[in-house]
């Protein structure tokens, strides 16, 4: 990973953590005082190394695990703030990163509304996280995973 890739990656994660949103490449260029072309190169490098995923046909962040830049059905809330997760596992990981809060989703099987709460290091709520794709294939189609 180059220094610029590290700088861009770090800024993306900081924004996700603080705001629940990914900065655009243009915002990153301004914020980091970097040429836009350098930011785009860094995004492509990070995507090639599976350090993040870009939205199809663009150089904009889609997934910087466990965060999602686009709305999903896995929402984590803490106070007034919210984050979108790529999947249930990522939602629990966001709770692990941001502290006590709630994970709201719907059962993929039944459509039933599900809520889990992280409190004092424990998860409260009933359900299971189902991994369909074996670990060796996670990145074959990360969006499906």
């Amino acid at each position: 990973m180059t220094h610029t890739e590290r700088t861009v990656r770090h800024a993306i994660y900081a924004a996700f953590l603080a705001q629940g949103l990914a900065p655009s490449t243009a915002t990153l260029a301004t914020q980091l005082s970097l040429p836009l072309a350098d930011v785009i190169d860094a995004m492509r490098g990070l995507a090639a190394q599976h350090c993040l995923t870009v939205q199809p046909g663009t150089d904009e962040v889609w997934m910087a695990h466990p965060f999602s830049a686009i709305e999903t059905r896995c929402v984590v809330r803490r106070g007034e703030r919210q984050w979108f997760a790529n999947c249930a596992w990522d939602a629990f990981a966001i709770l692990a990163l941001v502290g006590d809060g709630r994970f709201e989703t719907r059962s993929p099987a039944t459509g039933e509304s599900l809520t889990f709460e992280a409190r004092d290091g424990r998860i409260h709520g009933d359900g299971l996280v189902h991994f369909l794709v074996p670990a060796r294939d996670f990145w074959k189609d990360i969006a499906f995973t």
Partner: protein
Amino acid sequence: MRGAAVTPQAAYALGKDWYATRLDFDWERPGAAQVEAAFARHGLTGPFWALPTEVG
């Protein structure tokens, strides 16, 4: 059932472990052995969790 089922508590604990350094400037993508070790620390072992190649 295809795949594997993990309890919310185990997913949370794995997330805490897996992402512990992800926000660090100097974070490095873990190698296959490190990922397998993290899975194993949370009881996720066996062919489903095995990694013949690197993943993130």
